[in-house]
């Protein structure tokens, strides 16, 4: 079970958080202009990386804030956590 550093609250146990999959997938500005394929890409296609992975988490049983986590999916080491809207750290 991870220890996750919430950017707002500090280190807390994983049980306080939930994960919401890959980060940095912005909702398209004008969905109506997209082809079915492009829209499908946004809805369904995720990278499922082996190695450095960026993902969204929420501190449900804490500040209820969303933030991003940079995690190595092989070792499960959390390399960084950062606020929504911030640049993703370099791997």
């Amino acid at each position: 079970m991870f220890v996750i550093k919430c950017p707002y609250c500090g280190e807390r146990d994983q049980t306080e958080f939930s994960c919401h999959g890959e980060a940095h997938i912005a909702r398209p500005e004008n969905p109506e202009t997209l082809t079915d394929e492009e829209w499908g890409e946004y809805l369904f296609i995720r990278s499922n990386k082996k190695g450095i992975h960026y993902e969204r988490w929420t501190h449900d049983h804490g500040c209820r804030r969303w933030f991003n986590v940079m995690r190595d999916t092989v070792s499960d080491e959390i390399l960084a956590t950062y606020k929504m809207g911030e640049e993703k750290p370099k791997s």
């Binding site: 079970m1 220890v3 146990d13 004008n30 829209w39």
Partner: protein, 1002 residues
């Protein structure tokens, strides 16, 4: 005679404290400090139970948690526990235990017929035999279940209390043997916060059993000195009788402490067990090693045990389990046990399969009259309930065949030692990688994870002095990393074990009289009765991956998880495939390390503390007035309010009629409520809901559907504009938390510039929904708000007083009748409810529950999200295209409505169903077909989502999702029931009552 195998002095038992206990109904005496296993051996009881599959007599193999054979049923009644290891049970006055897996008794067991039939019970037997025809599996299973299994689970509720504890420490040391004590000592001296855990009742580990000297002290006295120092440190916590069960990410470990299991009476003040959840900055694993059995024919009889276990019984418990002893080994270390036994007067013979025995060893053996047979192997054993004879023969190692003549030796105890396997289970659980050590012929830790060290035998190091020094250093190193240091270095000058373990070959199996491949009794996994022949069979049948072999033969799958068998099974596979063990690999170790009680994991989260119960402000009134409750998520909602002798149908019919004819009242407080504030709320709602929100006036309500990005309906509710920048959103009861998260997600991740604040106010408001033609007349006498038809039209909200309390009244309806939803602060909820009940007598005000609410809304064709939708349904599918804005450029889900699949016109659509017989209430979930066949499969065209008897229409009504349903009005479809009966029904409109909506506007 009692304690006939007990020697007069020595060991760590207290001969002045006799303890009476019962095994299989017979009374025995043991001493304080005994385990059940040692006390039984002292009384010359070797036969403990019967094996799992062949019901062979089994005894005691080990002296610890790795025990595969000596499993007993412990205790009586509600406290009885199956599969308890006799080697771990500390005896107490009045203990009662019995053998398992035998009937009528352990001495005469009917099931042992399986032993003679073993040729027809090979690995995979059940898969091959009982899986065909599939329809008979349920029939077979009944008998197999009865025949299989070990102990018996208690049928009564466990009366014991279990506790949980969260613990944070600098350094956790697992195992308090030679190495663990040293690491803990270094860390303790450095001032680190140390937790030292050991599964035995006293620390010391193997130091308690061997002849070792450390700086002129014998290992027992030395251990006591170290313990005394450790106990003097406030920063060191020592937990005995505690086993670390799981090792998870980021040094999170769980441990089970047996707090009072060893006591005759459980006090109310103490829990039975305590479950520790530990987060350690650093972890040092010092679990030691397990001795490896040898795989030879008949190696499972009672009286055959591991050499180290026998040594433990002798030196720690003062028990000489046999007087005529055969030691079968392949390594020097085991000779120490033989010499200990000879010194205590036993006649010892050593069968060593090695050709060259070091002369130092043979000289020492000569001195104590131990005869050695080099290059020999035990090829068979005899004795049914206890071993009485071994057959040995010379083995030509080069050609792997028997030479020389067969010799029989009488004996009453056979010891075996095939080397040592480091206990890598926890290390492996932590994702540490293992490597095969070519001298030890076992797996040792290779790549450590962060903040972890493995020391001592656990790491494959068996030299005592080195182990003590390295383990101490490990503790120091971690202390330094934590910014602390010890003022004392380790003063040990000399430490040596009489005979130390250096290396051992791995022996796939010992050649026997019978060919090993066919039905021979070379046991690899004792608990699951897996023989070498089974491993051969698995390879022949193509289960050559180690994971497949494990599952096909079930080796390593018992309650001991193969602690004694895994490496031997791998060696055998390596032998069969002629590949190094490295290339065979190993199976994955998973928690728990040894069996643990569910009670401890649950702790106090049982009964009413298992899951929180949510109750509305009116709850007590519902209870007092005989409501039957329904769980909706965590909420307790009144299902219906039966009056004398009424069943659910009578009550629901009465409640529904009251609403349609006069006045009903519903406690709707569980409805999700979210307070939205900020300048951008309207803009936000426009994106969240499918319809338009920009022009909603203050004091107006609007119904909305929420879709996810796939265009599927996900929640619905009414949202009201309270003031310029303030809105009150309602959600479904079950969806409240989900909707709240949904809103927060988009505000925090996509539309960060929007100024909208969401606050859950579900618990803050009590909602009383009054419904029926008399509701306006009734309410008008209790409020200062003008609620006349003209002043207060449908879908409006007004604020004012109700029964003198500040309230919001919403003119909305979920029943189709004239309705008002009165919201008052929760603390006044019960007061207003009581006032309503008092003043409503005139109209025969009738409280109704969720069942009537469902019937009433279904009569009107109103959907319930989650019942009439299932996450694969668009607004169009439920015939609610009218609520989807065609003008808005964007909202969540919009783009998906034009995907090829959602655009299809023949999707499943929500329609009404009327049964042709006018009386059958279809079961919800029933499949709908066009053509009914005598048996499945049939082509399903949809399913019934809601179905009730409608008291208003006086016939059953149903809603269903049916392919192309909206274009099939009037068609007759079939609903095959589980009973085999087929019901005809006609597709209709989904509104069954008051289609024009006139009643709502009375």
């Amino acid at each position: 005679m009692s304690n006939q195998n007990r020697i007069y002095k020595g060991g760590r038992i207290d001969r002045d404290q006799a303890i009476n206990f019962k095994f299989n109904g017979k009374e025995y005496i043991g001493y304080q400090g005994d385990t059940l296993a040692s006390a039984l051996l002292a009384n010359d009881v070797h036969l403990i139970g019967r094996s799992f599959k062949y019901h062979r007599p089994r005894g005691i193999l080990t002296s610890g948690s790795e025990e595969p054979n000596a499993l007993v049923q412990l205790g009586l009644g509600a406290r009885t526990e199956p599969n308890m290891r006799a080697t771990e049970i500390e005896i107490y006055e009045g203990l009662e235990a019995s053998s398992q897996n035998c009937w009528p008794s352990v001495n005469f067991d009917i099931g042992s017929i399986n032993n003679f039939l073993s040729r027809v019970f090979p690995a995979g037997f059940y898969y091959k035999t009982f899986m065909w025809p599939p329809s008979l599996w349920l029939f077979y299973e009944h008998f197999i279940r009865k025949a299989a299994g070990l102990g018996v689970a208690p049928t009564a509720k466990n009366p014991d209390r279990y506790e949980q504890k969260f613990h944070y420490c600098d350094i956790l040391v697992v195992g308090a043997g030679a190495s663990g004590l040293m690491s803990a000592l270094a860390a303790g001296r450095s001032g680190c916060d140390v937790l030292l855990i050991d599964e035995k009742h006293e620390p010391g580990g193997y130091l308690r059993n061997i002849s070792a000297k450390i700086d002129n002290l014998n290992s027992n006295d030395w251990t006591n000195e170290i313990l005394k120092e450790l106990e003097s440190y406030e920063n060191v916590t020592i937990l005995n009788r505690t086993a670390v069960m799981g090792y998870y990410d980021y040094n999170y470990l769980t441990a089970l402490q047996k707090v009072t299991n060893h006591l005759p009476y459980l006090s109310d003040k103490m829990p039975r067990e305590r479950y520790w959840r530990i987060r350690a900055k650093k972890v040092i694993l010092a679990q030691g090693a397990f001795e490896r059995p040898l795989v030879f024919s008949g190696n499972d009889r009672p009286g055959i045990m591991l050499a180290s276990a026998a040594r433990t019984y002798l030196n720690q418990f003062g028990v000489l389990p046999g007087k005529s002893v055969i030691l079968f080994t392949n390594n020097d270390h085991a000779y120490g046990t033989a010499i200990d036994f000879a010194n205590k007067g036993a006649k010892v013979t050593i069968v060593d399969n090695r050709e060259d025995i070091p002369s130092e060893l043979s000289d020492r053996c000569n001195k104590v009259k131990i005869k050695i047979y080099p290059s020999h192997s035990i090829i068979n054993t005899q004795g049914y309930q206890k071993v009485k004879k071994v057959e040995i023969q010379k083995v030509d190692q080069d050609n792997n065949e028997l030479t020389g003549s067969l010799r029989e030796i009488e004996c009453d105890l056979v010891l075996m030692s095939g080397g040592w396997n480091p206990s890598v289970q926890l290390f492996s659980q932590s994702r540490g990688k293992l490597e095969y050590h070519s001298k030890l012929n076992s797996f040792i830790p290779k790549d450590l994870i962060k903040n972890q060290k493995v020391v001592g035998c656990n790491n494959g190091d068996f030299n005592l002095l080195e182990v003590l020094k390295n383990s101490y250093q490990a503790g120091l190193d971690f202390a330094t990393e934590l910014g602390k240091s010890a003022n004392k270095s380790l003063e040990i000058e000399t430490a040596f074990e009489d005979l130390e373990f250096t290396e051992a070959k791995v022996e796939p199996y010992m050649i026997g009289k019978k060919k090993v491949t066919h039905g021979s009794k070379h046991f690899v996994d004792f608990q699951h009765d897996v023989t070498a022949a089974d491993i051969f069979l698995a390879q022949r049948e193509g289960y050559i991956s180690v994971e497949h072999t494990k599952r096909y033969t079930t080796t390593g799958m018992g309650t001991d998880q193969g602690k004694t068998s895994n490496v031997n099974a791998l060696a055998l596979m390596s032998h069969i495939h002629d590949k190094p063990v490295d290339n065979i690999g190993h199976t994955t170790f998973r928690p728990p390390y040894s069996p643990q009680t569910i009670g401890a994991i649950a702790g106090r989260n049982v009964d009413h503390l298992f899951d929180p119960e949510r109750k509305t402000a009116i709850h007590q009134w519902h209870v007092d007035n005989g409501a039957e409750f329904e769980d909706v998520g965590q909420w307790k909602r009144p299902h219906y309010f039966p009056q004398k002798n009424e069943n659910i149908h009578d009550a629901v019919n009465r409640e529904c009629r009251a609403v349609r004819n006069s006045l009903g009242i519903l406690d709707a407080s569980t409805l999700g409520k979210i307070d939205l504030q900020g300048p951008d709320v309207a803009k936000f709602l426009n994106l969240i809901y499918t319809n338009a929100w920009s022009k909603l006036e203050i004091g107006s309500c609007r119904y909305g559907l929420m879709c996810n990005e796939h265009g599927m309906v996900f929640d619905d509710g009414v949202t009201t504009r309270i003031s310029e920048n303030r809105y009150h959103m309602t959600t479904t009861t079950g969806g409240a938390a989900r909707v709240m998260s949904w809103l927060e997600e988009f505000l925090q991740t996509e539309w960060l510039d929007m100024e909208v604040f969401c606050t859950s106010v579900t618990e803050q408001w009590t909602v009383l929904s009054i419904s029926g033609p008399n509701s306006r007349e009734f309410l008008s006498s209790l409020t200062d708000i003008d609620i006349s038809k003209e002043a207060f039209p449908f879908m409006k909200m007004k604020e004012g007083k109700v029964c003198g309390i500040d309230a919001r009244i919403f003119r909305i309806s979920f029943t189709g009748e004239l309705s008002f939803e009165i919201n008052v602060p929760s603390r006044y909820g019960l007061f207003v409810w009581n006032e309503f009940m008092k003043h409503g007598k005139k109209y025969d005000i009738t409280p109704y529950g969720t069942e009537s609410m469902h019937v009433l809304r279904a009569e009107k064709g109103f959907i319930i999200v989650g019942q009439d939708t299932d996450g694969s349904v668009t607004p169009k599918d439920i015939n609610m295209d009218w609520i989807v804005s065609k003008k808005k450029e964007d909202f969540l889900g919009k783009r998906s409505f034009s995907r090829s699949d959602t655009r299809r016109t023949d999707r499943k659509q929500l329609v009404g169903l009327l049964v042709n017989d006018k009386k059958t209430v279809l079961p919800e979930g029933s499949y709908v077909v066009d053509e009914a066949k005598p048996r499945p499969p049939m082509d399903m065209i949809g399913h019934v989502s809601s179905s009730y008897y409608s008291p208003t229409c006086d016939h059953p009504i149903a809603l269903a999702l049916i392919k192309n349903g909206l274009n099939r009005m009037g068609d007759v479809v079939k609903i095959p029931l589980m009973s085999g009966k087929v019901i005809d029904a006609t597709i209709t409109d989904s509104i069954f009552y008051d289609k024009e909506g006139a009643r709502n506007n009375e």
